[in-house]
Symmetry: C2
Subunit: 157 residues, 2 copies
C-alpha cells in the first residue's frame, strides 16, 4: 500500500550510526488511502472530536460541504505513517508539523499523502519534509511541513 519513490538530486547525508541511512533532498514516499465511515467513527472516539459535521449524515448534508467530512487530523495522520514507516522510517522522532487544511475530504474518497525531503541539517540529524495530501483529481487538501529527527540514534528492529 505504501509506495516509496526515493531519489532526486541534491545532498546525500549518511548518518553517523551503524546503519547507512541515506537521505537525499527530493526523496519521497507516498500512500493512497480511502477513509471509511468506521475509521471516522474510531477517530472521533480517539480524539473525542464528535463534531456532527464528521458523524451526522443530516448535519453533513445541511453543511456548506453537502456531506460529512473526514477529520482533518485523521487525514493528516497519514504523514505520521509515512514518516514513521517509510521516510525517514522506523525510529524517526517527530519534532514538528504544520498543517493547512485547504479542502474537505469525504468518506469513501481516495487521497494520496506525499512526504518529500526538502531540507537536511548539517549540524544535527534533523530533516524537513514537505507534506502534501491530494485527491485523485489533483485537488490539494492539506499542505504543510514536518520536522523529523532521523533514527540514527535509536535502535530499530
Amino acid at each position: 500500500m505504501v509506495i516509496s519513490a526515493r531519489g532526486g538530486g541534491g545532498q546525500v547525508r549518511p548518518d553517523g550510526g551503524g546503519q547507512a541511512l541515506m537521505l537525499k533532498i527530493g526523496a519521497r514516499a507516498l500512500i493512497r488511502k480511502v477513509f471509511t465511515e468506521k475509521e471516522v467513527i474510531q477517530f472521533a472516539e480517539l480524539s473525542l472530536d464528535r463534531n456532527p459535521l464528521h458523524l451526522d449524515k443530516e448535519v453533513g448534508k445541511a453543511s456548506i460541504f453537502g456531506q460529512r467530512v473526514v477529520h482533518g487530523m485523521l487525514v493528516a495522520s497519514l504523514f505520521s505513517g509515512l514518516i514513521g514507516m517509510e521516510l525517514p522510517g522506523k525510529g524517526s522522532i517527530y519534532l514538528g508539523q504544520t498543517l493547512t487544511f485547504k479542502a474537505p475530504v469525504f468518506i469513501g474518497e481516495a487521497v494520496t499523502a506525499t512526504v518529500e525531503i526538502i531540507k537536511i541539517r548539517k549540524d544535527k540529524p534533523i530533516v524537513t519534509l514537505s507534506t502534501v495530501c491530494e485527491k485523485d483529481s489533483g485537488q490539494v487538501v492539506i499542505t504543510g511541513e514536518a520536522v523529523v529527527k532521523v533514527p540514527e540514534m535509536i535502535p530499530v528492529s
Copy 2:
C-alpha cells in the same frame, strides 16, 4: 470529561447568524486524558504508523525514551476534539494547525490539552487559538496554534 473555562478579557465577537456565539480573547477549553495501549494500537491502524517505537515494548525499552511513546499526532488530535466540540464548538472548520512536539507522552500517562483564543479576525469569522498539551507535572509536550472558521455559517444540531 471536558472542562470549558470560558472567560478572560478582550474582544467580544457576536456572530452574524441566528446563534449568539460569543468568542472572547482568553476564552479557554481543556481536557485531561490518558492514552491506553489499545488506543495507540487503534491509531497505528488508522494512520498506518506502525513505527515500533509506539508498538513494540522491546524497541521502546531500548530507545532513548526507555519505553513506548504515544504517537504525537494522536495526542495532538485532542486539539481537534476541543475545537470541534467545545471552542469554538460544533460546526467549526479547521483551517490550520501548527505542532511542535517537545517531549514524549507514554502509554498510561495523563496529559491535559488546552486551547485558548488568542486572535479574532474582524474581517472574517476566523479565530486563532493557542494549543498546548502538558503532563500533570507541568511538562509541556506539545505547543502550537490552530486557525479555525467559526460555525456561524454552518447549521449545527
